[in-house]
């Protein structure tokens, strides 16, 4: 898994690429989220477009990241959900819990207006 971190209009963007799976990808995602929080970011936007596989550990990390960011008074949102990841989010019923936007523009705009 590859994580690229960008800043745009006060939002920290994490572009994820590859497999968010146990032992490797899940850890990389956690570390990226935590170091963004440590740098003071409170608006996090994750680009899922290039995620090929997410196993239950990956989903778990995503949920944990969402909770951690919320607990610190921040907001974590997702965009660019590929069809198979979308299926997983449906099946786990997380689709209604997590904040999901269509694309990067919509994602950035959602933070501008204050809510999704």
């Amino acid at each position: 898994m590859k994580v690229t971190v960008r800043e745009r209009e006060g939002v920290t963007l994490l572009d994820l690429e590859g497999k968010i799976t146990i032992g490797v990808g899940d850890v990389a995602m956690r570390e990226a989220v935590h170091s963004a929080l440590d740098r003071g970011s409170r608006n996090l936007l994750i680009n899922m477009a290039k995620v090929s596989t997410i196993d239950s550990s990956g989903i778990g990390e995503l949920v944990a990241a969402y909770t951690t960011v919320s607990n610190r008074g921040g907001r974590l949102r997702l965009f660019g959900i590929p069809p198979k990841v979308n299926d997983i989010l449906q099946i786990t019923q997380l689709i209604t819990v997590l904040d999901i936007l269509e694309d990067e523009e919509e994602g950035i705009a959602s933070f501008r207006s204050g809510s999704a």
């Binding site: 799976t21 146990i22 032992g23 490797v24 596989t53 196993d55 239950s56 550990s57 989903i59 778990g60 990390e61 949920v63 944990a64 969402y66 909770t67 069809p83 198979k84 979308n86 299926d87 997983i88 449906q90 099946i91 786990t92 019923q93 997380l94 819990v97």
Partner: protein, 154 residues
Amino acid sequence: MANRHSEVLLSIGSEFENIELIQAVLDESLQRLAFDEDARYWIGIAVREAVANAIKHGNRQDPEKQVEVELFVESDEVVIRVCDEGQGFDPDCVANPLDPENLLKPDGRGIFYMNRFMDAIEYDFGAQGGTVVTLRKRLGASSVDSRRGEEERG
């Protein structure tokens, strides 16, 4: 056992990165059994969960302990069996990850994935310890699970 064929056995050390070895053999085998790309994807996800559990909960990541994966065809099903050297557990006590109080928990979705993406899963525990999970999928069942997801969305 009578009509069991295309048997392959793979044994790996208990390291998460070895899941990719299983994935490689599985994908090649399923391709040969004419499972389409979607079906291979979802079966792959289920098997990854079974192996991850064997490594994590069963063998507790002890690299000396092996995880064995058996793959074969029996009548009209592909059967994948994952065995570890752990202490076992009570499958009846596993919580439902869809219960509202579990929805935001970081774990507890692995067995749920397996149930969702396979036609049947079954747990067996050796008298001397060790967990065996058997996953089954009907041959020619093309990407049922992806469609299931589709239905729910509507």
